[in-house]
């Protein structure tokens, strides 16, 4: 091997070594960052709207519940406050539900039963509990804090022709594991708007429990670039599935914080 050739190969090695950090700089952001962007991409100041909750059992029978809902972000910009009221079926019409999230603590929940004319505080410690009898749990509805999970970028994939990051998340600590009862989650986050379009939930033993699909994702706040999935579906391995279909969504309408008290829950029926 002559001298020149040797110099040439050294240059190639040098170039290769230098190229690594350069590629990293222009490459994908880290997984946590993606998840954080995703967390805030769907958080609007406040919103009103209605939603149909459609529950299917394993043999395909269907139960529909119509609700109206008002939501507002708490002062910390993270926690949500939400009032959900049932419009149908007739026998539960007027039933109200107030949820106030406390990141890092137990959420507050109140229920108003019109047939009893009473508001009762609901103490449910487990965020893995079903949301309104659906396949969604409370933890699924209210996106958990980014740092409750540790995230790893698993790759890039297309979901319904849209480029996504594929991210694996495992509970950051035992408490999260116990509360949410997930051993692992795999999320597909759209590269263009950071909205999750698909999430797989695995149980503590690593077997697939359910799969969430989000569709009909629209930008609801052009200024702040906030997006909202109007159709969400949760398919359970048990064969049951639930759909959440949002209608008439309005954001940043100036919802008053006074709405989110047990007293209002009882009054505003």
């Amino acid at each position: 091997m002559n001298c020149q050739a040797m110099r040439g190969s050294r240059a190639a090695i040098l170039a290769a070594v230098l190229a690594v950090p350069i590629a990293a700089l222009s490459g994908p952001p880290d997984a946590r960052e993606i998840m954080e962007k995703s967390y805030y991409a769907g958080r609007v100041q406040d919103s009103t709207g209605s939603a149909s909750l459609v529950l299917y059992n394993a043999s395909g029978q269907k139960r529909v519940r119509e609700t109206t809902s008002v939501g507002k972000l708490a002062a910390n910009g993270k926690d949500q406050m939400r009032v959900i009221r049932f419009a149908s079926p007739a026998d539960v019409k007027g039933t109200g539900f107030l949820l106030i999230e406390h990141s890092g603590g137990d959420d507050d929940m109140w229920i108003y039963l019109p047939a009893l004319r009473k508001v009762r505080r609901l103490v449910a410690k487990e965020k893995s509990n079903s949301f309104m009898g659906s396949e969604f749990s409370y933890a699924d509805i209210a996106d958990p804090d980014v740092d409750e999970y540790q995230h790893t970028l698993l790759g890039e994939e297309k979901i319904e022709d849209v480029d996504c990051w594929k991210i694996g998340s495992t509970p950051a600590n035992e408490k999260v594991k116990e509360e949410q009862r997930y051993g692992k989650k795999v999320s597909w986050i759209r590269k263009d708007n950071f909205m999750a379009v698909k999430i797989e939930f695995y149980d503590l033993d690593g077997s697939l429990l359910k799969t969430m699909l989000a569709r009909d994702i629209k930008e609801v706040d052009q200024k702040a670039h906030k997006w909202f999935a109007h159709f969400r579906e949760m398919r359970s391995q048990s064969g049951r599935r639930s759909e959440l279909v949002f209608k008439n969504l309005k954001v940043n309408v100036g919802v008053s914080a006074d709405l989110f008290t047990p007293q209002t829950l009882e009054r505003e029926r």
Binding site: D91, V92, L122, S130, M132, E135, E178
Partner: protein, 791 residues
């Protein structure tokens, strides 16, 4: 007859001319069929045993499709010191619950224990209510432990079901949609043992109970037939030796019997017909029938050899003469049993096929392999022949009976039998038709000990369900409907044998109480439909969507009342069913709901219902065919009746013994009674054929009677006594089915042989039927009979 005799004689001569070819061919078939036994599966699936159209099964399937509850299994932990509210025991519950929850086929919503995810406590306070797992984690402090104890004991749903009233026992209840992935009941039992056994320690005793456990043990005990069968064989061998005093006298009947059992079992394997534990007793019947035929020919062989002093001639003569009777008796019985394939119940069909093929196998072997083998074997020497023909205790007995009948004292015998039969019928009418899996096990067996220990403290190891159904969706939100359900549930709770009844009603009352700040006066059903609906919605916010699946369906149209009962027997469960139906008819006929009892052990009720009635029906069917065949063979209705007679005597006597001793008419005992038919008819046919043969040789009624009694009759006694005594040793087995076999098979043997050797000859002698005597002129027309005409 003469024609048949001639053909048969030519055939037997052909066999004895090429014994090696025949033995070779039969050995090849035996090996090929024997290899098929590998494919034979012993399998108990109560579903497949039943006709799917049985109303109880239809209902049971409807209930289990929606709510489960078919295969409830209990793992109960009993502590010796203190109570179960300590971290060690609760950790065991937690581990067992978790591991059972991971088993394939487990119904997650029906997994119940203190730590199960969907076992919730509903507690109210002044400002709120809490619906939470009873024990999300093991209490770490004494106060938390005390609080848990209070919660559990204060909760009607859990008290007695998950923890005993005295706190000494706690249960993990699991339920399975299918046993397939678990490897059947034994597979499930093994998995549960693997989970539960490590949790047993000095302070903790673990009891496994419930239907799957009983079914597992039934399989285990049935498998003991493997040991019981050879034991019976050895005993029979000893008795045959005592009777014949020669090696051949032992080897030939046993060889025929074993080959027949192997052939018929191989046939079942070849046809892919599964055997259930009840049919595992059938080889014993085949053993008895095959040995019986063999002894008849063997006895005649010694008789002919003694007369002809020529081995081959004796083989041909005995096989020909007895062959006709054997083929007749065998084919009649085989036809009777084969007719059982018309039954819808697979277990009875398998019984019919197995028995029929076993009998046919015995006939084939006796007509091929045995004569071929015998011409190759050395003929009995002087010494052996003398030993064989030596008088036994049977001779004076038979001669005595013969003498009495000839002396005209047959009327006394007939009279005695009439009295015995009247008594048997009277006692037989007291037979209790009942059935239970647990009754198959003796008191000291692990399954009974575990079940009793469990039932002493808990609600009961067995489940029955009431399907509550409304006319349209949401019917169960109607408070009046719920009140009807409540009334029925309360009535059921007060019935004997019921440990606990649980339904949606309990949850509704509990929620109402919690929403009224835990005021005990408010533990009542909600007053309006809206409130019911709102409670249901509220509950659905506090758990898994599947939490209520075990009490109410998706549409709120159907619900179930789950009844935990302590006994699994047919009569007790049937009474419970009748009682519930009666209450519904009298008090809830105007309800908007319908109430039907089914599921759980009521499937077992249907099982015994079908099998017991099926067996009784098959006794009648086989009897009818034997009667018809008897009529045809002897061309006489009286002939048909006489063939049937010892058999009827045996069956009736059997029922009499059961009535007197309190043995239930159950699946197993009905099977034994049906088996009696296969044996009873043979004795009569052999006796009648010999009687007729002697008459055809010109003997008078008295002489023919005497010869038939001391030859064919003696062979009958040999067979009956050896097989009876062989089976008496089963009485020492731990499994009640075997004990029943040990009592009832010998009874059948003794009674049918005594009937064939006393009542039958007495009647024949008294009636002097034409079908016995009319063949007399035939002897001159029978060219083949010349050799045998030497007397």
């Amino acid at each position: 007859m003469s024609f048949t005799n001639g053909v048969l004689r030519r055939y037997v001569r052909w066999v004895t001319d090429q014994p090696r070819l025949v033995i070779g061919a039969i050995t090849v078939v035996a090996v090929l069929l024997g290899a098929e036994i590998r494919k034979l599966r012993i399998f108990l699936d109560p579903d497949r045993t039943l006709p799917a159209s049985h109303p109880v099964i239809v209902l049971g399937n409807r209930i289990t499709d929606v709510f489960g509850g078919k295969y409830v299994l209990l793992v109960s932990l009993e502590v010796k010191q203190g109570d179960v509210f300590n971290p060690t025991t609760l950790a065991k519950v937690q581990r067992i619950t978790k591991k059972i929850g991971e088993l394939p086929g487990v119904i997650p919503g029906n997994l119940l224990s203190l730590s199960a995810k969907n076992v919730k406590d509903i507690v109210g306070s002044a400002e709120g209510m809490q619906i939470d797992r009873v024990m999300p984690e093991i209490p770490r402090t004494a106060e938390a432990m005390e609080a848990l104890r209070g919660r559990v004991h204060g909760n009607d749903i859990m008290n007695g079901l998950l923890v005993s009233a005295d706190g000494k026992m706690t249960s993990v209840l699991s339920d399975y949609s299918s046993m397939e992935k678990l490897g059947g009941f034994s597979g499930l039992y093994r998995r549960i043992q693997e989970i539960a056994a490590p949790e047993q320690d000095a302070n903790t005793e673990i009891h496994l109970a419930g239907l799957p456990v009983s079914l597992h043990w039934m399989g285990v005990y049935s498998g003991r037939m493997r040991f019981v069968f050879p034991l019976a064989m050895v005993t029979i061998a000893l008795l045959l030796f005592f009777a014949f005093r020669t090696g051949q006298g032992v080897a030939i009947p046993l060889l025929t019997a074993l080959l027949s059992v192997a052939w018929s079992m191989g046939m079942m394997g070849l046809l892919h017909i599964d055997l259930d534990p009840f049919n595992l007793m059938t080889p014993i019947l085949i053993l008895a029938v095959a040995a019986g035929h063999s002894v008849q020919i063997l006895k005649r062989y010694y008789e002919e050899y003694g007369r002809l002093k020529d081995n081959k001639a004796a083989v041909i003569e005995s096989t020909t003469q007895v062959g006709v009777a054997m083929l007749t008796a065998g084919l009649v019985a085989a036809a009777g049993f084969a007719s059982l394939v018309t039954f819808k119940t697979t277990t009875i069909r398998a019984f019919g096929l197995l028995t029929a093929s076993g009998i046919v196998a015995a006939l084939i072997i006796e007509m091929t392999f045995i004569p071929a083998l015998r011409v190759l074997l050395a003929p009995p020497g002087e010494e052996k022949a003398r030993k064989e023909s030596r008088r036994t205790i049977f001779d004076p007995l038979l001669e005595g009976i013969s003498a009495r009948i000839r002396a005209g004292k047959g009327g006394a015998i007939i009279g005695a039998f009439a009295v015995i039969l009247i008594a048997a019928v009277a006692l037989g009418s007291r037979v209790r038709t009942d059935n239970s899996l647990s009754a198959l096990f003796s008191k000291g067996s692990p399954v009974i000990r575990d079940t009793l220990a469990n039932n002493a403290r808990m609600a009961g190891a067995y489940v029955m369900q009431v399907l509550v159904e409304g006319r349209e969706p949401d019917a169960l939100k109607d408070p009046q409907a719920l009140r009807d359900m409540e009334a029925l549930q309360e009535h059921i709770s007060g019935l004997p044998n019921v440990g606990k009844a649980i339904s949606l009603v309990d949850f509704m009352r509990k929620m109402n109480k919690a929403m009224h700040a835990d005021d005990p006066a408010q533990e009542v059903l909600p007053a309006t439909k809206d409130l019911v609906a709102q409670y249901l919605l509220l509950y659905s916010m506090s758990g898994d969507p599947g939490d209520f699946d075990r009490v109410v369906d998706f549409d709120y149209q159907r619900a179930v009342i789950t009844i935990y009962v302590k006994k699994d027997n047919y009569a007790a469960a049937g009474k419970l069913m009748a009682d519930i139906d009666d209450y519904v008819r009298k008090n809830l006929s105007r309800s908007s709901l319908t109430f039907q009892v089914g599921g759980g052990i009521s499937n077992g009720i249907a099982l015994s219902d079908v099998i017991i009635h099926g067996k009784v029906q098959n006794i009648l069917q086989v009897s009818a065919i034997i009667f018809l065949a008897g009529c045809l063979v002897f061309w006489s209705i009286l002939g048909g009746f006489l063939v049937l007679l010892p058999l009827i005597v045996a069956v009736l006597f059997n029922f009499g013994v059961m009535g007197a001793s309190g043995i239930w008419l159950s699946i197993s005992t009905a099977t034994i009674s049906a088996m009696a038919l296969g044996i009873g008819a043979d004795y009569a046919i052999y006796f009648l054929f010999r009687y007729r043969e002697e008459m055809s040789r010109g003997a008078d009624w008295d002489t023919a009677l005497h010869v038939a009694m001391t030859t064919s009759g003696k062979a009958v006694l040999f067979v009956a006594s050896s097989i009876s005594l062989g089976y008496v040793c089963l009485v020492f087995s731990g499994f009640l089915i075997h004990i029943y076999l040990g009592v009832l098979v010998p009874t059948t043997m003794v009674v049918s042989s005594v009937g064939a050797l006393t009542l039958l000859p007495a009647l024949v002698h008294a009636i002097k039927p034409r079908f016995v005597s009319k063949l007399a002129p035939a002897r001159t027309a029978d060219p083949g009979a010349s050799k045998g005409d030497g007397r």
